[in-house]
């Protein structure tokens, strides 16, 4: 393992760092992170994803990168690229596991130590946006990411919720976490917002609707938009296919594309 280059140097080529957070599990943080990354790439940006969910790393599967070996260069760990043009880079704990079915049963201090390495030792090349996918909660992983990114600007966080009160209830706490740790809130995304039937295009609200927008109003945050519950999005993620390419005319990809543009504008003006 090479000695870590100074953190500031490693991330010097990364223009914007965005955390993807949610107090609540299962709202689609990894799906939204992947969707936003694909949308930003489609719009011509160089994008990186740092997957710090040590217990449940989902992104490698969603980007269909399998279980590659991680290599070292002088500057640190080389991220895995999804294509030869290096338009989308990924570093995930998933790459470090010999056995993807083996649980990472670590207490906080050990998780903190590995995340520090992740943040410090990945040799990101020039990136327009680095998205950091996180597990649910407000604990060791989140504090570790923030402590280690403190020397580099964290532009802010995007919070993902679903419409239900059980979800927005946890996301309110995540908003408090951001305020207490000084992380600007770039906006709130309401995922699984309405279900569009692929056969009849009728929209039904399986998980209700509007909770995310209400939460944004309540907390004075920007509402970035809604992403519907779309079986084609779920299956694309499941199979590691580029949803934004395959279903570029769908309402869902328009929604994700719109959110990514709003996000980019907010990053470029703050």
């Amino acid at each position: 393992m090479s000695s870590a280059a100074p953190l500031v140097q490693i991330l010097a080529n990364v223009r914007h760092v965005v955390l993807v957070l949610s107090g609540k599990g299962g709202v689609g943080k990894s799906t939204i992170t992947t969707g936003l990354a694909l949308a930003l790439r489609q719009a011509g940006n160089k994008v990186g994803i740092l997957d710090v969910d040590l217990c449940g790393p989902s992104i490698p599967r969603m980007l269909s990168v399998g279980r590659p070996d991680v290599h070292l260069c002088d500057a640190g760990w080389v991220p895995v690229y999804t294509d030869a043009q290096k338009s989308l880079a990924l570093m995930s704990i998933g790459f470090l596991l010999d056995d993807p079915d083996k649980a990472v049963v670590w207490r906080g201090p050990k998780k903190t130590a590995l995340i520090s390495q992740f943040v410090s030792d990945v040799a990101w090349e020039e990136l327009d946006v680095l998205l950091v996918d996180t597990p649910p909660g407000t604990s060791d992983e989140h504090l570790a990411v923030l402590e280690n990114l403190k020397k580099h600007r964290v532009d802010g966080a995007v919070l993902v919720t679903t419409p239900q009160a059980v979800s927005t209830g946890d996301v309110r706490r995540e908003i408090t976490f951001c305020k207490k740790t000084g992380v600007p809130i770039l906006g709130i995304i309401e995922n699984m917002s309405g279900f569009v039937c692929p056969h009849c295009s009728e929209c039904s609200n399986i998980f209700s609707k509007g909770g995310g927008e209400e939460l944004a109003k309540l907390t004075g945050s920007v509402f970035l938009g809604c992403v519907p519950l779309d079986p084609q999005l779920s299956s694309s993620m499941e199979e590691g296919k580029d949803f934004m390419e395959l279903f570029s005319n769908s309402a869902t990809s328009t929604a994700i594309g719109g959110i990514s543009q709003t996000l980019l504008q907010r990053l470029q003006t703050t």
Binding site: G25, G26, Q164, D170
Partner: protein
């Protein structure tokens, strides 16, 4: 067992950690020399105390999932409601999701207060025979965030087990956060001198969920916790996974929008929508769990 004293510095490794007293964070801590002497590394006496305290609890069930958002809290709450529908049974729920406590809302008791008496903290009563303890009741506002590292979360879990006046219980159901981390290790360790009937693992049929559930199964095997499984939605892959791991698939719950609605409103959907196909499956699952628990009482070996 990691334990963080109140006067410890921010990155305290815990008084029973191998690095107690010797880590960089220990510099300047008033407990440093005590920890470094090794006196704090003996088995946590709380484990035996908890064993004693919970000897009046007949059955303990953990509800786990590697994956977030699959319905652990929903299931825990409705399992409790269903078990408590027998008024002769005493049922309690323990919510150890310290960062995201959902049970108070799902049970319709958000905003209730916990009281302290000579015999300990009293849990909040949902029904006469159904009580719950959650950090949610200790927060002064719905916006309060619990930004704690592992050792402090572990301390809270210990207090819940040792200091709550649970009373005589037929069932104690423990709802957990997603993952395989401090909370999961702690609950297993703190309950190690008691009898735990087993764990129910919740999943959805997607591979992204099954991927995490396989890890959870690995965790259960590592800590020698008897496991069974249930699933939401249709489940060909789940059935295969259960076969591969020699686990019982308790049931497949169809997605019903009224489940989420009931949870948001703090009502039991078993009462609100008793005719729903999902309610039928829940009742079947609860029955299987009751049978499993009663077999353990009679000492029968279960192949689960």
């Amino acid at each position: 067992m990691a334990d963080v004293p109140d006067n410890a510095p921010e990155h305290c490794p815990g008084t029973t950690s191998e690095k107690a007293g010797t880590s960089a964070s220990c510099q300047g801590c008033p407990n440093q020399s005590l920890c470094a002497s090794g006196a704090t590394k003996t088995p946590d006496p709380a484990i035996a105390e908890i064993g004693e305290k919970l000897s009046s609890v007949k059955h303990k069930i953990l509800v786990l999932s590697g994956k977030g958002g699959v319905g652990k809290s929903t299931f825990s709450a409705h399992l409790a409601h269903a078990l408590a529908s027998d008024s002769t049974k005493e049922v309690a729920l323990l919510d150890i999701d310290i960062c995201g406590p959902s049970l108070p809302r799902i049970l319709g008791v958000e905003g209730e207060q916990v009281h302290q008496s000579g015999s300990g903290w009293s849990p909040v009563y949902v029904e006469d025979n159904l009580s719950v303890m959650s950090i949610g009741f200790l927060l002064s506002s719905p916006d309060d965030a619990v930004i704690w590292r592992g050792p402090k979360k572990n301390g809270m879990i210990k207090q819940f087990l040792r200091d709550v006046d649970w009373g005589e219980l037929d069932y104690l159901i423990v709802d957990t956060p997603p993952g395989t981390s401090d909370e999961h290790l702690s609950i297993v360790q703190y309950l190690s001198s008691t009898h735990v009937d087993g764990a129910v693992i919740i999943t959805t049929p997607q591979e992204v969920s099954l991927q995490d559930v396989r890890k959870e199964i690995g965790f259960c095997r590592m800590v020698k916790l008897k496991t069974t499984i249930f699933c939401t939605g249709s489940a060909l892959f789940t059935e295969k996974m259960c076969q591969d791991f020699n686990l019982t698939l308790l049931g497949k719950v169809p997605l019903d929008p009224r489940i989420g609605q009931s949870c948001d409103e703090g009502k039991s959907f078993l009462s609100e929508v008793p005719d729903s196909p999902a309610a039928d499956v829940y009742r079947t699952i609860v029955h299987s769990i009751q049978e499993y628990c009663s077999k353990r009482v009679t000492g029968d070996q279960d192949t689960c």
